[in-house]
């Protein structure tokens, strides 16, 4: 079974902090990491390969430095890495990104399953997975928390919805996004590290993929970031004073004014 896992290299957002005096982002020392939600997709790809055979190809779109992320995937069991990189892609939104990735998957050609994380840590949209499925004309299964079986051209899996879980069946090839519950991603192994060290990554440009210029980059992205700003805090805070008992009693008074108590 040939599995394609789509990943993204993102800034480690937990380290992106706001300088409270200047209200600007402090980015110093922020390293690039594999989008944490994608690590579950990589692990699931490797586990499915271990269960059903085949190989795992990691696909990412990004600057040339994203090759580090691909090598990290090989360290934890992936077989190959493909970097789709071109200046023409700069500024692509989710629509343009899913177009580029779907073109790359078409070029890979022989695939049975495409896996992505449920969303990225920086953008938080979760739109690229379904976008790819649509472009490829194959079904999409969101928030998969367990893969029961893949056989006879069908995948049986459990997905998370707001009210609980659903067991669904989808034909393969299909695209699925995985939730955090699906597995615990493994740590790098010695054989993986050695393989990653000597691994030859594939790099494809817009031309390699036969990409239409007006469908990527800023030109191919209908959405546009007009402004950014720090979240505002507008609430008037009141710190309750006194001993613990006094504070609790003051709070109870406030709550009963609100008719909660």
């Amino acid at each position: 079974m040939n599995i394609v896992v789509c990943i993204k290299q993102v800034p480690s957002t937990t380290e992106v902090k706001i300088n409270s005096e200047t209200n600007t982002l402090v980015r110093e020392g922020v390293e690039s990491i594999i989008n944490p939600f994608d690590t579950y997709a990589i692990e699931e790809g490797v586990r499915l390969k271990e269960r059903f055979g085949g190989k795992v190809t990691i696909l990412t779109m990004g600057p040339p430095q994203a090759d580090i992320a691909l090598k990290e995937c090989i360290e934890v069991g992936a077989d190959e890495g493909i970097l789709v990189s071109d200046r023409a892609f700069a500024g692509s939104d989710t629509l343009a990104t899913s177009y580029v990735l779907s073109k790359a998957i078409e070029k890979i050609g022989d695939y049975d399953l495409v896996i992505s994380g449920k969303q990225t840590m920086d953008g938080d949209t979760g739109q690229v997975g379904p976008g790819i499925a649509q472009r490829l004309g194959i079904p999409f299964v969101a928030y998969v928390s367990r893969v029961d079986d893949i056989s006879d051209g069908k995948m049986k899996a459990e997905r998370m919805i707001d009210e609980g879980h659903e067991v669904v069946e989808a034909p393969v090839p299909c695209v699925m996004s995985v939730s955090k519950e699906i597995n615990v991603p493994r740590l790098p192994s010695l054989r993986g590290k050695m393989k990653a060290k000597s691994a030859q990554l594939t790099v494809w440009s817009a031309q390699d993929l036969g990409i239409e210029d007006n469908k990527v980059g800023l030109a191919g992205s209908p959405t546009f970031v007009m402004q950014i700003f720090s979240p505002k805090r507008e609430r008037q805070s009141e710190m309750l004073e006194g001993s613990s008992a006094e504070q609790v009693s003051a709070l109870c008074d406030k709550l009963s004014e609100m008719k909660v108590v």
Partner: protein, 385 residues
């Protein structure tokens, strides 16, 4: 200090460090409290190929270099010596097979050990035979194509949790230690059961257990090497494993030092961080120096072995003696730097201090090692250059 590690060694260090940070540190207090074997972590260690490190290349390993194995043990011990002994005990139990096993025996067992599919334990100590290994009573009697083993081994690390046991038993009691032989006994062999599980002061997540043999029948081909070679096998095995114990000491000392420095920086007394007091600074400086000195001795010893030295009993003994005495002192000082809270289980140094004690005791007490060292010193006609 720059130790000029090669690429593979750097990878091993990084992999083991990752496991310590991601998997061991978050649960070490709980594992200690519950005295629970760290099965999940061992799986992760296996998955990361660390069991392959001490296995020769021809048996699906990574070259069996002493320094490579020591780096893995050191990094795991930075997190928890209870976990690292589970790993190091596998190496200890595997050494007799690597050193003296037949090719068939190696083919049979080493790949399984390399993959981490089966764990190993080494059975030497008995209730009446600790430092005085020659006083052992376990017997192995040849009976046709099998040996019949009777006796009880005590304080066996990984006992009960390992699948493969390398044990020493007397095949010819009349000859004393010269009549000892080494055997592989697999778990679930009829007549082989587990006795008392010890309640320990430290390394509490590791299992330490009695092995009980009652008319336990093992096939003749499970004899490791020749009859009567058991005592030599033991000595060579311990020579090979002692750098591993030294690595536990270095890692533990390093871990305690890191905890103490971090705590001293954030703990405020008299309006300033305690790290700014010279009394604390000097303690931390001494701790750092001792850790580094032990590491140097260990790496030099491991490199001596990897370079092909044939007799390294003294080197290993010195490294183990120095590194484990250091670990005891550094962990004790770490508790002192923490003050009152360091004595509680809310912080890791209390456990580290408990864990340190066993390092001075097992695989040759530090007193026995001093005997070994001085006998080598006296034997030399001249001091080393």
């Amino acid at each position: 200090m720059e130790y000029f590690l090669d690429e593979q060694q750097k990878m091993i260090k990084e992999i083991a460090r990752n496991i310590t940070e991601e998997r061991i540190k978050p649960v070490r207090a709980e594992l200690d409290e519950k005295e629970e074997f760290p099965r999940e972590i061992i799986k992760e260690i296996a998955q990361a190929d660390l069991f392959r490190v001490f296995i020769p290349e021809e048996y699906e390993g990574f070259g069996a270099k002493c320094l490579d194995a020591c780096l893995a043990i050191e990094e795991l011990s930075r997190g928890c010596c209870g976990v690292s002994i589970c790993y190091a005990a596998v190496m200890l139990g595997t050494l007799p097979i690597i050193l003296f096993g037949s090719d068939e025996m190696k083919q049979k067992y080493l790949p399984q050990i390399a993959s981490g599919e089966r764990l190993v334990a080494f059975g030497l100590t008995e209730s009446g035979a600790g430092s005085d290994a020659g006083a052992m009573k376990t017997l192995a009697k040849l009976d046709g194509d099998s040996y019949i083993i009777n006796g009880t081994k005590q304080f066996i690390s990984n006992g009960g949790d390992a699948e493969i046991y390398s044990i020493i038993a007397l095949t010819n009691p009349a000859k004393g230690v010269r009549g000892a032989s080494a055997f592989v006994v697999e778990k679930d062999t009829p007549g082989f059961t587990f006795g008392k599980k010890e309640k320990k002061m430290g390394i509490r997540c590791s299992s330490t257990c009695e092995l009980v043999y009652h008319n336990c029948k093992v096939p003749k081909e499970n004899l490791i090497g020749k009859e009567g070679a058991g005592f030599i096998a033991t000595l060579k095995t311990l020579d090979g494993s002692r750098p591993g114990v030294a690595a536990q000491g270095v890692g533990l000392g390093q871990g305690a030092l890191e905890e103490a420095v971090a705590y001293a920086r954030q703990r405020v007394q008299f309006g300033q961080a305690v790290s700014s007091f010279q009394a604390v600074q000097h303690m931390l400086a001494d701790m750092a120096t001792q850790v580094e000195a032990a590491r140097l001795l260990l790496y030099a010893c491991a490199r001596t072995i990897d370079a092909g030295a044939t007799n390294y009993t003294e080197d290993g003994a010195m490294a183990k003696l120095f590194a484990t005495d250091m670990a005891m002192k550094v962990t004790t000082d770490a508790v002192q730097v923490f003050g009152g809270v360091g004595y509680t289980r809310d912080y890791p140094v209390e456990k580290m201090m408990r864990d340190a004690k066993i390092l001075q005791i097992y695989e040759g007490t530090n007193q026995i090692l001093r005997n070994d060292i001085i006998s080598h010193v006296y034997k030399r006609k001249a001091m080393r250059p």
